[in-house]
Symmetry: C2
Subunit: 97 residues, 2 copies
């Protein structure tokens, strides 16, 4: 069955304490190649049936209203992944959110 | 600066209570097209400098040892995203984890 992946990240202008903690841990472990870490959420919705425009519209609405808190988070990506794992559609926040 | 995205999901054989809660909420809201929801994490690491094989090897190690708990989670994806947002490399768990 196809899956739809929704990626939600904290807004760029907000502090991300979880990301800061990971970045600090990387520094202490001697990994100096990374300047910043941010931690967000990845939702995988399994769809019963084909993914058509109606389903995608539902997902966009769900992503904005249920899966993300629009005050502090952005929906950065909505991607359809078929059974074999190939990506068949994707888009950035501006287009989909 | 290039970003590396690491996606971590709960293992398929484990219950995901957060995903079950979202799936339940979707059902109550009348969204019946979705059979399952799973919730994982998305890490965005900003890299200082070019992404070469050394950096990617570090990221694979970090993903396995720091960003995921291998007992209950899988690293499903490590993707390099350049400044413009284009994806230039990606892979499934089997190849990278």
């Amino acid at each position: 069955m196809p899956k739809i992946v929704v990626d939600v990240m904290p807004k760029a202008e907000l502090l991300d304490p979880q990301g800061k903690a990971v970045a600090g841990a990387l520094g202490r472990l001697g990994q100096s190649a990374f300047t910043d870490v941010r931690v967000g959420k990845r939702f995988e919705l399994t769809v019963d049936g084909p993914v058509d425009e109606t389903v995608l519209a539902s997902v966009r609405e769900i992503a904005d209203e249920l899966l993300s808190n629009q005050v502090i988070e952005d929906v950065v990506n909505i991607t359809v992944v078929d059974e074999a794992g190939a990506h068949s559609a994707s888009g950035a926040s501006g287009a989909l959110a």
